[in-house]
Amino acid sequence: MNARAPQGNNVVTQSLAQIGNCGLFLLTLLAAIPRSLRYFRETVRQLWFVGAMSLTIIMVCGLFVGMVLMLQLYSVLSTFGGTSASGMVVAVAVYRELGPVVTALLFAGRAGTSITAEIGLMRATDQIDAMEMMAVDPIAYVATPRFLAGLIAMPLLCTVFCAMAVLGGHLVGVTWLGIDNGTFWSNMTAVVEVHSDIVNGVLFKSLAFGAVVALIAVYQGFTTPPTSEGVAYATTRTVVASSIAILALDFVLTAFLM
């Protein structure tokens, strides 16, 4: 796993080499899943750090996204006399796009960076080598549990985010702007579909984003030069690469799922 820094003389070849190494690293991670099953506790522990500890930020942001979305929609839709549809639009927009994407971006910032920094520091302080020396496979013990935790945590976090956004929309729309409570829910239930919105939007997208963010975070942590500058740089790269990957993948997935 001492993946060499990508050799190349320009940005294109370097980026290609990065993507290639990242893909190979994914295979290593997946191959280590059977071996990492004995470190199941570690996966649970990482799920706690990566998932449960991100709940607060996800919930607060979800609430505000729902609230601001409702405000904007209300002001636009009121010119058409269609404010009763705003709850439905909030739900659809959040389930299909904003929920998975914003959750993934927040997840990259909150959990992705901490994974990269943690693994980078473990490398800098020889903890990874120490595990090797104690005959503990660092891929199976460090990398795969974090990857799996990210994979499991993202859909759950995204679901919570969406619920909070709908709640925020309800708070602003019904409690503040005076949309009828029954209209709010009935319009929503009339339009939102389990398959296209919940399964394809909330679950499928967030699963894909969780895999991408966790992979990038773990990969950056493992391949960064084990120095303090290296760790700082890798943390930044995790956020940048994750954000680009999330938005690009979102486009591809949306095009496929439509």
Partner: protein
Amino acid sequence: MTDPVRAAPEDSTLVRVRGLTTVLNGKTIFDALDLDIPRGKVTAIMGPSGTGKTTLLKHITGQMRADAGEVLVDGQNVAQLSRERLYKMREGIGYLFQNSALLTDFDVFENVAFPLRQHTALPEVLIRNLVLLKLQAVGLRGAARLMPNELSGGMARRVALARAIVFDPMLILYDEPFVGLDPVALNQVLKLIRTLNQTLGITSVLVAHELEAIKQVADHVFLIANGKVVAQGDPKTIANDGSPWTRQFFGGDADGPVPFQYPAGDYAQALGFAGAAK
């Protein structure tokens, strides 16, 4: 350790290095290096900075692969072991890292218990007793519940040592065990190395620069330079073997076979005195 591969106990050499050649980033680290580490002794490996002493330890543990030559640990060629066999072998090797490398997530107790938890299914009581036994041996039983960031450098190294010996290994590799320690902590570590070797018969390999410490503890010294063993022998007498390497290294001269100047072009030419070079 009931290791079936630990055959031929009459073999007095535990680690045998033959023709080891390593090239890292275009720089030759080892050039057909031959080295024998005797069983049950304390062996010190010395040499100028950058000669690859730590690299040698990584070859012994199988973390690095040689470009040529072989490393035999207890009769097994490390480079040819499968992952399972290699990990099995590593369970019999303790490694003390220069910066201790304690797992920051866990407290002292769990750090020492970590190898036990990973490789055995011992009942909790037994793990507890084993860990406390090892912590008592390094004098840190009272620190069992401290986190690594609460430890001083010397304490952290002693915890790392307790972790390295928790499986009662046949071999302990010490990577710069004395660096950055105050005299008291240094002597504590020194005492532990000696005790472990004498009471348990654990073969020890030390990579270190501290001459006085090595004279006190080591049975045999290898001096490595330019990828080869340039001198070896008893630490008390090796300084007087007449070789220019030992004279410079044990005398601490600034210039000698180990040059003061990093290899460079002609000095006068570099300064622009083209005429002076002629």
